[in-house]
C-alpha cells in the first residue's frame, strides 16, 4: 500500500526540511551571485537553524511516527535534535570570523554544516535502521569534506583522507550489522525489530549477536571509542579548528542519539550482553583517552584526547540503558556548550594559518586576555567536573545512573578517571595565570560573532551548573516519551 500525503504528516519533518532547505538555498544564491562577502550565508544558516529549533520546541513530544513510520517524533528524538541544532548554530557563529581570518570564507562551508546537521537530525529521530544509516552517511560525508576545507593546507588534507578511509571502513561494519539484524528480525523498523527480538528470545540467534557486534564496532568508530579511536587525534588536529569544534560535538550527539534509541527500543532484551560489552569499551575509552591526554603539549590535540575520554564517560550512562538515557542527554547538552567553547578559545588564540596552539603560547594570557582566559578556565573546569559547572552536575547524573543500574565498579573507575583528567585540564589554567610568556603571542582581534558564541557557551555552562533542575526535568520528561 502506498501512503498518501496525510499519512506522511510532513509537518513533523520540518526541522530536517528547514535545515537542508537552507543549505540548498545557500548553494543556489552562491551559484547565482558569487561575489564579495559570504556573511549572508552564515545568517541564512542561522535562520534555517532557528526555524528548525522553533519547530522542535513548539511541536513538543508525542509518541507518534511520521513519514510512514520512518521518523519518530518522540521526546528522545526531539530532545537530541534540539541539542544538535544548538550545537550547529554555535558552530556557525564560531566559524564566521575564523574563516575570514584564514581566507577560506566560502558559502559552501555553511551549506555543508547544514547538510551535516540534517543528517544528524535524521539519525536522532529515525525509527528505521536504513534511515539511520543514510543520515549517518550524510553527516559523515559532510564532515569529510569540511575536514578538507582548508585545501591548501597539507594537515587538513591528510586529516580528511584519514577520516574518509576509516569512516568508510566503519560504515561498512555498520551496514553489515544492519543486514544481519534485518536477517534476524525481518524488518528494518526499530520498534518492530524490538518486538521481533523480544518474541523470538535472544538465546540462540547468532544473526542477532553478529549484528549487534558489528553495529557496536561501527558506532564505536564514529564515537572514537578505544580501540576504534586511532583516527581521532590526527583528524581533530588537522581539520580546521571550527570544523573540529563542530565535529567533536555534532557527531557525538547524533551517534549517541542513535545508540541510546537502539539500546532502549531494540536491544533491551539483550541488555546483559550489550551492557557488558559497552562497559568494557567505556573503561578502555576513559582510561586510554585520559592517559594519552596527559602526554600532550598542544591544546588542540589535548582536546582531541579529552573528547575521546568524554565519550567514555557518556558511555558509562549508556551502559545503564533506559535508566541512563536522561543523563546522556543532559550531559551532551552541557558538553555541547563546554567543548564548543573550549575549541572557540583555541581558534581565537591560535596563530593565523596555523591550527596549533602549543602550551607555551598560553603563558601570560590570563592577564592579557582576562575575559577569554576566564571563559577557557570555566570550560576546562567544567570538563574536569568541578562543582558549580555543568560538567559536575552532568557527571553526577552519568555516574549516578550507572550506580542505579548496578554498575558501581564502573562508576568508581569513571570517578578515578575524572581525577586523572584534572591534572591536564588544570595544568592549562596554571600555565595561563602563573607563567610568564617568553615570546608573547600576537593576538588577533576576536570578532563579534565569536564573542557572542563564547558568551552563550559560558552562560550555558554556568546556568546549567547552578540551576540544573529545569534542564534535568526536561531531559527526564523527554526520554520518558519513547516510541516503542
Amino acid at each position: 500500500m502506498l501512503p498518501t500525503l496525510s499519512v506522511l504528516n510532513l509537518n513533523g519533518a520540518v526541522p530536517q526540511i528547514a535545515v537542508a532547505g537552507a543549505g540548498m538555498l545557500i548553494m543556489l544564491i552562491d551559484a547565482l551571485f558569487h561575489r564579495g562577502s559570504r556573511r549572508w550565508a552564515a545568517y541564512l544558516a542561522l535562520l534555517g537553524l532557528a526555524v528548525a529549533l522553533a519547530r522542535v520546541v513548539e511541536s513538543g513530544a508525542s509518541a507518534e511516527t511520521i513519514l510512514d513510520g520512518a521518523l519518530a517524533r518522540d521526546g528522545l528524538g526531539m530532545a537530541f535534535a534540539l541539542v544538535l541544532i544548538v550545537a550547529a548554530a554555535l558552530s556557525v557563529l564560531v566559524a564566521m570570523d575564523y574563516l575570514r581570518r584564514e581566507e577560506h570564507e566560502r558559502a559552501e562551508y555553511y551549506a555543508l554544516i547544514l547538510f551535516a546537521t540534517a543528517g544528524g537530525l535524521a539519525m536522532a529521530m529515525a525509527n528505521d535502521l536504513v534511515a539511520v544509516f543514510i543520515g549517518l552517511e550524510t553527516l559523515s560525508i559532510s564532515l569529510y569534506v569540511l575536514s578538507a576545507f582548508f585545501t591548501g593546507d597539507a594537515a587538513s588534507r591528510e586529516a580528511a583522507l584519514k577520516y574518509l578511509l576509516l569512516g568508510a571502513f566503519a560504515s561498512a561494519f555498520f551496514l553489515y550489522g544492519i543486514a544481519l539484524l534485518y536477517g534476524a528480525s525481518g524488518t528494518t523498523r526499530l520498534v518492530e525489530m524490538g518486538t521481533a527480538i523480544r518474541l523470538a528470545g535472544t538465546q540462540a540467534d547468532p544473526l542477532l549477536w553478529g549484528g549487534v557486534a558489528l553495529i557496536i564496532v561501527g558506532v564505536g568508530f564514529k564515537l572514537a571509542l578505544v580501540p576504534f579511536h586511532s583516527w581521532a587525534p590526527d583528524v581533530y588536529q588537522g581539520a580546521p579548528t571550527s570544523v573540529t569544534a563542530f565535529m567533536s560535538v555534532a557527531s557525538k550527539v547524533a551517534a549517541f542519539a542513535a545508540l541510546v534509541r537502539l539500546l532502549v527500543v531494540v536491544l533491551a532484551p539483550a541488555a546483559p550482553l550489550t551492557s557488558a560489552l559497552l562497559a568494557l569499551l567505556a573503561v578502555l575509552t576513559m582510561t586510554v583517552g585520559n592517559i594519552l591526554a596527559l602526554a600532550q603539549d598542544e591544546v588542540k590535540r589535548l582536546l582531541a584526547y579529552s573528547s575521546i575520554a568524554q565519550a567514555g564517560y557518556i558511555l558509562v550512562a549508556a551502559v545503564a540503558g533506559e535508566v541512563g538515557a536522561a543523563a546522556v542527554l543532559f550531559y551532551l547538552l552541557g558538553y555541547a556548550f563546554t567543548n564548543l567553547g573550549a575549541f572557540a578559545v583555541v581558534l581565537a588564540w591560535s596563530r593565523r594559518g596555523e591550527g596549533r596552539l602549543p602550551f607555551s603560547d598560553l603563558a601570560g594570557l590570563g592577564f592579557r586576555r582576562p575575559w577569554t582566559a576566564a571563559a577557557l578556565s570555566l570550560f576546562l573546569l567544567s570538563l574536569t567536573g568541578m562543582p558549580l559547572t555543568v560538567g559536575f552536575v552532568g557527571k553526577l547524573y552519568l555516574f549516578g545512573a550507572a550506580v542505579q543500574a548496578g554498575w558501581t565498579w564502573l562508576a568508581i573507575v569513571a570517578v578515578l578517571n575524572s581525577v586523572v583528567s584534572a591534572f591536564y585540564y588544570l595544568r592549562l589554567v596554571v600555565i595561563m595565570y602563573m607563567r610568564e610568556a617568553e615570546m608573547p603571542l600576537a593576538l588577533q582581534r576576536a570578532g563579534l560573532a565569536l564573542g557572542v558564541a563564547l558568551a552563550v557557551c559560558a552562560a550555558g555552562v554556568i546556568l546549567l551548573g547552578l540551576v540544573p533542575g529545569v534542564a534535568l526535568d526536561w531531559a527526564r520528561q523527554a526520554v520518558a516519551v519513547v516510541l516503542s
Partner: protein, 119 residues
C-alpha cells in the same frame, strides 16, 4: 526471468575469455622469438617514442567522473519508479520531483561554478 535466462551471457563470457586466451597462448607458443631493440619499440620503423607512456591525468577527468557517478546513481533510483509509475501514482511523482529537484540544485551549482567547462 530466472537465472537460466542468463546462460547465453555466461556462454558469451566464456567464449570471449577463451578466445582471447587461446589467441595469446598460441602466438606465444608458436611464434618465433627473435627480439631486437628495434622490434621491441611500440612503433617499429615508425616514430621514436618520447617520454613515458604513463602520463598523469588532469584533475578535470576526476570531476567529470564524479559527476558521472552521481548522475548514474540518480538514474538507477529512477528505474524502479519509472517501470511502475502508473501504479505508484501522484504521490510517487511528487517524491521523484523532489529527488530530482535536490539534485538539480547540485547540477546548477556545478554548472555556475564552471565545473562543466573544459577551458
Amino acid at each position: 526471468m530466472v537465472p537460466a535466462d542468463f546462460l547465453p551471457i555466461l556462454v558469451l563470457i566464456i567464449v570471449a575469455v577463451g578466445m582471447s586466451a587461446i589467441a595469446i597462448a598460441l602466438s606465444a607458443l608458436l611464434g618465433p622469438h627473435k627480439s631486437t631493440p628495434t622490434k621491441l619499440m611500440p612503433y617499429e620503423s615508425g616514430m621514436v617514442p618520447v617520454g613515458d607512456a604513463r602520463l598523469r591525468f588532469s584533475i578535470r577527468f576526476f570531476v567529470v567522473a564524479i559527476l558521472f557517478i552521481l548522475f548514474d546513481v540518480e538514474a538507477i533510483f529512477f528505474y524502479p519508479w519509472a517501470v511502475y509509475f502508473r501504479r505508484l501514482g501522484l504521490f510517487a511523482l511528487i517524491q521523484i520531483v523532489v529527488f530530482v529537484g535536490i539534485l538539480f540544485v547540485g547540477y546548477f551549482y556545478a554548472w555556475r561554478k564552471g565545473a562543466l567547462e573544459w577551458e
